[in-house]
């Protein structure tokens, strides 16, 4: 589904990703861990198409298409979803109004008409319940005045509404209390299926108890320096990143 090949990315001429290789197949869940500033969010942003990054080498294939050549909205309509590490607050746009626009943009792309209002509301209520998102938040301005946890829940809620083929979750677990973590993880697990893939960035092994990954990768210094299964996450939790950096330097 996704194949990242020797990806080099710079911001303002500063190299951040220095040759990332990663292949994700349908049905798989990959976790990416790594020290602060190693380039995890950069990778997510580049995959989602955020302007301002220079791809200096390499490329990304998504379902047979050159992902990096697509506008961000086309990527989204083709099933890519990024749950932001820092969801933006947009005063004056209600959650629901925005979601309706998003879902109808996707449907239009698929040659379908706009979703009938009643069906939309029913679906939205159901998905909000999945992540125990307070319905009152649906009519509020997008993320404005939401608590940190509510913002993250809202991201997962939007993900469930948009039903992506490939979901990128950038530290969705950070800032969640223990109950919220479970709820969010259950939400993500609902999405798990044969046809979908999930790439999740996290600092904490705890999330991986709930969402058991097929692979765990360590991104450090702009490259994937180690890959393994969920046991790698346990080892990192216990020992930190030092040993990998030592191994890499010897």
């Amino acid at each position: 589904m996704l194949s990242i090949n020797n990806l080099h990315v710079a911001v303002d001429d500063k190299a951040i990703l220095k040759g990332v290789d990663l292949t994700v197949k349908a049905g798989e869940v990959h976790a990416i861990m790594g020290p602060n500033g190693s380039g995890k969010s950069t990778l997510c942003h580049v995959l989602a198409g955020r302007p301002g990054y220079q791809v200096t080498q390499g490329g990304v294939d998504y379902q047979g298409a050159d992902l990096l050549a697509l506008e961000p909205e086309i990527r989204a309509r083709e099933g890519l979803f990024l749950a932001f590490q820092y969801p933006v607050e947009i005063p004056g746009i209600s959650n629901l109004y925005f979601l309706k626009a998003a879902i109808n943009a996707r449907r239009k792309h698929e040659g379908k008409g706009p979703m009938p209002a009643v069906a939309f509301l029913r679906m939205v209520r159901e998905k909000a319940a999945c992540v125990e998102l307070d319905e009152g938040l649906l009519n509020r301005s997008l993320n404005v005045g939401f608590s940190g946890g509510e913002k993250k829940r809202n991201e997962i809620f939007q993900m469930l509404v948009l039903e992506p083929t490939l979901a990128l979750l950038d530290e969705t677990d950070s800032g969640l209390d223990i109950d919220a973590l479970r709820v969010v993880a259950e939400g993500v697990n609902k999405l798990r299926s044969e046809g979908r893939a999930i790439l999740l960035v996290t600092h904490y092994q705890r999330l991986l108890d709930y969402i058991v990954p097929d692979y765990v990768h360590v991104l450090a210094g702009g490259r994937i320096v180690r890959s393994g299964d969920k046991d790698l996450a346990h080892k990192l939790e216990a020992e930190g990143y030092g040993w990998i950096e030592n191994e890499a330097s010897t």
Binding site: G49, E71, E73, A76, F84, V88, I90, G92, F98, A102
Partner: protein
């Protein structure tokens, strides 16, 4: 008729001020506005229609309350364009507000090429509550300059909800002086929206003259392609426990220009008053300009006053967020523009007018996209 003659005095004063010359950009208050295009226009007319109430002529108004009319006429509004209008024998009409749920709809439409002068006196009786929607238009048959003076005297405990929508054709000009005097506990809630005209200049003069008067003022300017929208506010807190809120926004297309100047004067004796001002601009293309000049003059301590101004391009993070959820660039821009303008639009408190205004915002974004 001798009463009418006594009004002559204020007109003569205006003539004297007017003869000092037409408004020039040299004067501080006009620093950002050039009136050169307005020189040498011949006299034209404008039609004034009011739905929902009868407009009175001066004689009829004088019959009703001569003292009040005399106290207001020609003496509330100041400034060069007001003087020009008052000195030019403007069409004069009086709108005496009576209480009612229905919004009064006033339209002023410039006719043909040339310059027209209109003077409208707006009077409310104590406790009267009324909504007025005023449209400034022209018939798009040439370059028309509409020069308008509105003097409004709001009596004790009255409330005026005013919305103004300026949608002149792109060759036309409007200069409008809006002067309000608020008596004790009077309430003014007013929104000015500029959509059209080559040049639109509003001088908003609000006098919170008596205790507990309140004003909530807002403006929205949508200039593009050489259009110039200019909203100049002078607000006096002249008595104790007076309160004001001001929110002015410009959504400026390429080569458009928007100016907001907000001068708030809090006088001695205005204890316990509050004033909050916010102006924001979004620049949507090359050569777009938004000039903000907040000015706060406070003569006493212990008041609550704030102002803030910001201006910039559309927020890049928000744009990316919306696009990453599937909205194309145009739709994302439209949504952000709607949200930006929405804060002013919701003050209209009228769903159908809000929707049509949002539609204007969307189509402006589409046009300049």
């Amino acid at each position: 008729m001798s009463q009418l003659a006594s009004l002559q005095g204020s007109r003569e004063a205006a003539v004297a001020r007017h003869s000092q010359g037409a408004p020039e950009s040299r004067r501080e208050a006009n620093k950002y506005t050039s009136y050169r295009a307005l020189e040498g226009l011949s006299r034209a007319s404008a039609s004034l229609i009011c739905e929902g109430a009868e407009l009175l002529d001066l004689e009829a108004a004088m019959t009703r309350d001569p003292e009040r009319v005399k106290a207001c006429l020609g003496s509330l509004a100041t400034g060069p364009w007001a003087d020009t209008a008052l000195a030019s024998k403007p069409n004069l009409a009086v709108l005496w507000l009576s209480p009612g749920d229905e919004t009064l709809r006033v339209s002023l439409r410039g006719q043909g090429a040339g310059q027209s002068h209109q003077h409208l006196l707006l009077l409310s009786d104590p406790d009267c509550q009324r909504s007025v929607h005023l449209e400034l238009l022209d018939d798009a048959s040439g370059s028309h300059h509409l020069n308008l003076v509105i003097e409004a005297d709001l009596a004790e405990s009255s409330r005026l909800d005013l919305s103004v929508s300026q949608a002149m054709s792109s060759e036309s000009y409007v200069t409008a002086t809006w002067a309000f005097r608020l008596a004790k506990k009077a309430n003014l809630h007013a929104v000015w929206m500029d959509f059209g005209a080559a040049l639109a200049r509003h001088d908003l003069q609000v006098d919170l003259a008596e205790p507990q008067a309140r004003a909530e003022l807002a403006g929205l300017m949508l200039p593009k392609l050489g259009q110039h929208h200019d909203q100049h506010l002078t607000l006096h807190h002249g008595a104790s426990d007076t309160h004001s809120q001001q929110l002015f926004k410009g959504l400026v297309g390429a080569r458009g220009r928007s100016v907001f100047s907000g001068r708030v004067e809090i006088k001695e004796g205005a204890a316990g008053c509050s004033s909050h001002q916010l102006c924001r601009g979004i620049l949507l293309g090359d050569g777009a300009e938004f000039d903000a000049r907040p000015q706060l003059l406070i003569c006493i301590d212990a008041v609550e006053a704030s102002h803030g101004a910001s201006c910039g391009a559309m927020d890049e993070k928000s744009m990316f967020f919306l696009r990453s959820r599937g909205l194309d660039e145009l739709a994302a821009k439209q949504l952000l523009a709607e949200a930006f303008a929405g804060e002013v639009i919701e003050l209209l408190g009228d769903p159908s007018r809000s929707e049509s205004t949002l539609q204007r915002v969307r189509s402006m974004i589409q046009e300049i996209h």
